[in-house]
Structures are given as C-alpha cells and as structure tokens.
C-alpha cells in the first residue's frame, strides 16, 4: 500500500478508516494514561503490578496502531508531540476522572470492552491483512485486562453497599457516546474494512456488558452533534488538565 502524505489524497473510505483507527489508538492512549494516573491508588501489590502491565499493554497497542496509521501519513512526531488537548480523539467516557476505586473499575471495564468490541470487527478484514493480524493480537492480549476488571467487580459486589453497579450505569451512558446514533452512514463498514456495522457493534458491546451488569432497556444517547471522525458528540478534544497530565515531556531526552 502506498504511503500517503496528505489527507486530501485519501479516498473517502480510507479517510474514514484513518479517523476510526486514530480514535481507537487515542482511546488506548488515554486509557493508558488512566492506568498511569490511578497506579498509586492500587489496593494490593498485585494491583500495582497489574496496573503497570495494563498501562504498558495499552501504550503498546496504541503505538502499533499509530505505526499502522503511518500508511495514511500519520507520524509519531504528530502523535506524541505536535498535537494538543483538542486533537485527541478518545471517547468521552475517559474525560471525567474516576471518583473512586469502584468507578475506576467500572470505567476500565467499559473502555476495555468497547475498544475490544470495535477491534473485533477488523479481525477478518481482507482489505487490510496487516490490520487484521494486529487487531487479533491486541484482542488476545486484552483478555487479561477484562479478567482483571471482572474479578474486581465480583469482589466489590460482595459488599451490599457497593456503588459499582451505579458507577457502571453512569459510565455506560458515556461509553455509548462512542457509537452515536444507530443506523447512520458507516463508510468503514460499507467499504469492507470492518466486517460489522457500528450499529451491530454497539449491540455486541451491550450484550457483552449484559454478562456482567444489568443494562436498562432503551438506553440511548442523544446524538445531536455526533461526528464520526472523533466518535463523539460535542466539541472535539479532551480536558486540558487531563492532557497536561498524560502528555509526554522532556522531548530532548527521548530514547531512539
């Protein structure tokens, strides 16, 4: 596949694919930032280890996806350095900081599940075999991230006063913002890059959530201003103070 240097050179499906992969990679970038920021709140030594591992996992996946985006002209320089808070395309779900350990667990459950669900539709892609293999590898590695959150949810639920179900309900609404309204135009699907439509992926995500949480009937998100290029409603970008915490620093000391 030829390397493209300008977005204008891309066909519409390629541009849509570029946007979507950017959103997935940024979701992983910000999720990794979550693990980083919450690390010291771990509740056992094994949590410290696990959170470090999941942080690396997410950064590693993000890096692989950014590298894949290189074919659409995306550079690591842009990814790590020239972007600001408003250019980050992660889900709205990850904007608001966790309010407690239980909220943290509910959020990472939703985020891991959402991103893995979306990637699952790339595993069979004939249009981009490299991406298909990458998606498969990422999904396999993410399995333990899900066991971690499910194990914690189970432990927290043993306390009758636990807020984990409430936290999950609140975070679920924010997660659904990632898919917008059902049945809107879906260039990545219609071009064959993805084997499942966004609407069906949203349903697949909800059934996966159902295995762990009760999902209220007819849960929906008003999608007044949903843009596929950022996969969210409203203004693009993440909060400045979150960006400041997770951005990279000391550029002159980066290792080759």
């Amino acid at each position: 596949m030829a390397i493209i240097n300008s977005i204008e050179d891309l066909s519409e499906p390629d541009r849509a694919l570029r946007d979507e992969l950017y959103c997935i990679a940024d979701a992983k970038l910000v999720l990794a930032g979550w693990y980083m920021m919450v690390l010291q709140n771990g509740r056992s030594i094994a949590d410290f280890t696990s959170i470090c591992a999941m942080m690396q996992g997410q950064y590693g996946h993000a890096r692989a996806l950014y590298q894949h985006l290189g074919r659409f002209g995306v550079t690591l320089d842009e990814v790590e350095w020239t972007r600001g808070a408003k250019d980050i395309r992660s889900p709205k779900l990850l904007d608001r900081p966790p309010q407690s350990w239980s909220d943290f667990i509910a959020t990472i459950f939703m985020a891991e599940q959402a991103v893995s669900t979306q990637l699952s539709a790339y595993r069979t892609s004939l249009a981009d075999r490299t991406l298909a293999r990458l998606a498969d590898k990422i999904l396999k590695e993410s399995r333990f991230h899900l066991s971690y959150s499910v194990g914690w949810i189970k432990a927290l639920r043993k306390d009758p006063a636990s807020t984990v179900d409430e936290d999950a309900r609140r975070r679920l609404v924010d997660t659904l913002d990632w898919w917008g309204e059902p049945d809107q135009p879906d260039a990545v699907f219609s071009s064959g890059y993805r084997d499942t439509s966004d609407s069906d992926l949203r349903d697949r995500f909800l059934s996966a959530v159902c295995a762990t949480f009760d999902v209220p009937d007819g849960i929906a998100v008003p999608a007044k201003s949903w843009q596929p290029s950022i996969r969210r409603n409203g203004r693009p970008g993440i909060p400045e103070n979150l960006f400041e915490k997770i951005r990279f620093k000391n550029r002159e000391l980066a290792m080759p």
């Binding site: 970038l29 990794a32 980083m36 920021m37 919450v38 690390l39 010291q40 709140n41 056992s44 030594i45 094994a46 410290f48 280890t49 470090c52 591992a53 942080m55 690396q56 950064y59 590693g60 993000a62 890096r63 950014y66 690591l76 990814v79 790590e80 900081p97 966790p98 309010q99 407690s100 350990w101 909220d103 943290f104 909060p239 103070n241 979150l242 400041e244 915490k245 990279f248 620093k249 000391n250 550029r251 002159e252 000391l253 980066a254 290792m255 080759p256």
Partner: protein
Amino acid sequence: MAQAALARENTEEATEVALQTRIKAGATLEDISEMTPRYRDVLVATMAIAADLEIMTLPLDFDAITFAPSINDRIAVASALQDEMGHAQVMFRMLEDFGFDSYHQVFERDPKNFKTFFLLEFGNLSPIDVGLGHLVGDQAGYITTRDLEENCSFGPYSRSLRKVNFEENFHVKRGEYMIRHYMQQGPEMRKRVQERMDFWFPLGAEWFGATDDVKSRTDQLHYKIRGSTNDQLRQIWLQRLVPFCEQVGLKVPAHFDSERGIYVLDYQMPILLNLETLKWDFRTVTWPEKLAQWKKGGPLKLPGLTRMQVELWGQDLW
C-alpha cells in the same frame, strides 16, 4: 527450676551449633521448622528489608513514568516498575509464611518504619535520573540479590530471587543503553549527565552499607544468608561501574589501584549529603553521623510512601 532453665539453654545451644554446622557443610533449609530463632530473625530481617526496597520503587518510578518523553520510554519505565512490584509481591508473599501480614506491612505500617535505602529516597528529576538509577542503583541492587540467590541457605528465598535477578539484569542494561546514548548527545547533555552522576555515585557506593571494619551484622554471613561482605559487594559494583563510566566519559570519584589490584574510592566513607544543596561533602565523618542521616531519610521517603497508602480521586487526579 534453675536446672530446667539450664537444660533448656543447653538444648538451645546444641540446636544452634547443630544448625551452624549443617549450614557450614552446605545444607539448605527448606522449612521454618528447621530454623533456630536467631537464624529466623536474621533471615526475616534480610527479607523484610529487601521487600521494603522493592516497594519504595513505586513512588520513585511513578514520577519517571509521568515525565517520560515518549510512548516507548513510558513503556520502558512502567515495565521496570512492573518488575519491581512483582519482586515485592514475591517477597511479601514469602514473609506471609513467617507470620507477616502483607496488607499491614504495605498499607497500614507507619512510613517511618519502612526500611528503605537513601538511594531510593530522592525523586527523579528527569529521564537522565532514570538511566542513572538503573545504572547505579539497580546495578547495586542486582549485585546484592545475586549474592543472596547464589548463597542464601534458605532455599525458597534463593529460588525466588531467580526471577528477580533475571529482570534486574535488564534494568542495568537499560541504564547502560540510556547513559551511553545521552553521553553521545553533545557537550551540553554530557554536562547534564555528569552533574547528576556526581549526585548518584556516592549514593550507590553507600548502598552496601558500612565498611567491613565497622560492620556488625555478621550473622548474615555466619548463617550463609548471604555470601559476601559489604566491602566485597561494593568492590563488584565498582568493578562494573567504573570502567563503564570511563568508557563513556563520565568522571566518578573512584579509580583502579594497580598495586592492590582493586578499585578504590577517591574519598574515605562515610560522607554526608547536604540535603539543602543536594551536593556531597567529601570530608569523612563518623558512622554515627552517617547513620543519623540515613535514619532521617531523603525527601521522597515519607511523602512517597504516604501517597501509596492513601487514595486520590476526582479533581485530585486531573
């Protein structure tokens, strides 16, 4: 009564002698029931310090992760910290069998009572410190735990250190890679690295504790909990670090004494760090003065361990 006490003392003495003889002959202990109380105390003290040293890397590496320059660098520091936390997990798990409660030890114990070393009690200022931490500190830690793995007469502890040492060796290599790279980035960068090395080197040298002429904890050697003395371990550290520094062009206050065939420090331990300026004063002081400085600890110790014991959420995160 007196006779009974005497008989008990005699039995204890006999058990103690029997144990020491067994150990001298190269026996390995596998179970607590084989230990005398004195052996057990020495072993537990050694393992408890090692566990505290591992856990102290959480506050130390946290800042290093946040100020990392790239995805790759952030992954590298997080990976090193993951290893350290894995080591802490193994060590605290082992202490559980000796009646320790890990949760109490990590989350409830007063941070003042953690037995960490001075080297780990200063925050990292930039990725240069991360490289030097690996090169100087992990090197020192690796030499200590390699000795325990090779010599410790308590089999389970020795075995548990295989994973630890396998991973620590990577950290040292990472440090060498980083510092070699920085030292090739022109005079300005070399100066920055040198300034920080001036701070790190004496911290590494004192990692191994007091010099052999004043060292009191010889029970560790009696019981073959470890195999080498402080000065012997320090010598291995110097043998590895000094030639590397010379090769990359870093000056350190130590040299090879060709007459004695060993590396020697250019100053006489112990020396004090000025905690205001963070510069070393190379005038020799007394060991009680040094011990007092170690006891007081560095600026990261209490806030760092306290952070590990509290939770911050919402606006306190971002």
